[in-house]
Symmetry: C2
Subunit: 180 residues, 2 copies
Amino acid sequence: MSGEPGDDREQLDYLSFVDYAVARTARELPDIDALAMRFVLTLHRATSALVYDLESSVHRPRGLTWPGFRLLFVLWLAGPAEAKRVAELTGMSRAAVSALVKTLEREGLVCRRQVAHDRRSVQLALTEVGRVAIADAFAAHNAREQDWVGVLSESEVVTLIGLLGKLMAGSARIAARRRS
Amino acid sequence: MSGEPGDDREQLDYLSFVDYAVARTARELPDIDALAMRFVLTLHRATSALVYDLESSVHRPRGLTWPGFRLLFVLWLAGPAEAKRVAELTGMSRAAVSALVKTLEREGLVCRRQVAHDRRSVQLALTEVGRVAIADAFAAHNAREQDWVGVLSESEVVTLIGLLGKLMAGSARIAARRRS
DNA sequence: CTCCACTAGTCAAAGCTTTGACTAATCCCT
DNA sequence: AGGGATTAGTCAAAGCTTTGACTAGTGGAG
């Protein structure tokens, strides 16, 4: 596995790299599980492409980042919540939420309050500006999601969701590491 | 959509948030495409969980980051290549590759050379240390990938790969934004 | 040959993430 | 009530990413 020339390496791009990588690995490292490799490469590339498109076409033009959108979205749906809970629901670490909220608070989208029953915790909530921003962003976000999903049939999407759910459910069985 | 209490918000966590969000949105914003919403939420969460597990259980313990692993992987398979090409194959921007290579070069995993025919471009290649590092990391990476994929049947994985491929292929049709 | 457009790469500022340390408040056991 | 263990949140250092600007080098049109 040295990358010497003389192979079929012409006109390789982001899409075809997966095929190239799997073919080459299968040839030179037969002990590797090629299907698992292809799956993870494909999943990662598809998700990256989707997230990049949503962030750059929907959120950045509105002054939001992808993590900012996700945090506002959780507050919008779940209501005012303590930082710890927001971290759990968004899948971010507590430190990441803390840093992100600092930005969102400065922009006037979120506010922090002391909680009565436990002076350690901080309650996070949308401001009125934040509520309007997330409602607008989510509408555009969902429209763009529809464009993406539109290339699949409804039953294909249902199948995909089901299999991804099974994958997630299985992560507990293999003791996958999760954010603290 | 205000997050007032009195709903079914108890014992909500990272996994069940998708169900909660979709149910609530379907109830209060009937114009939203709930299936597209569920799909994107599920895809993003599944991928994040997988990447977090691979990075924290396989790569960080070896002193690699996830982007570092990806860049080494491309150089390993595609052979020495100009920075622009590495950016295309990894899906990173040229600026991101430039910054990442600075770290990898400092750690002695990658080296930079001038190219003869065009004095603007820089050729990137693995060092011997880099070659050993990526070979070791990829073996462990693939073993972990197998654990994840092991919860699905082979035909389920093939289905998943096919549908994700169709999704990616469709992104051209909707003029999805891609990294420059 | 000259000039202008384009290309490769780097840099800088700002943002998000991670780990690990640290503070402050709460809990619980004796 | 006292004291140790937990827990919530923040901070700091280091790394990666983005956008946009900037430097060099290349190449084609006149």
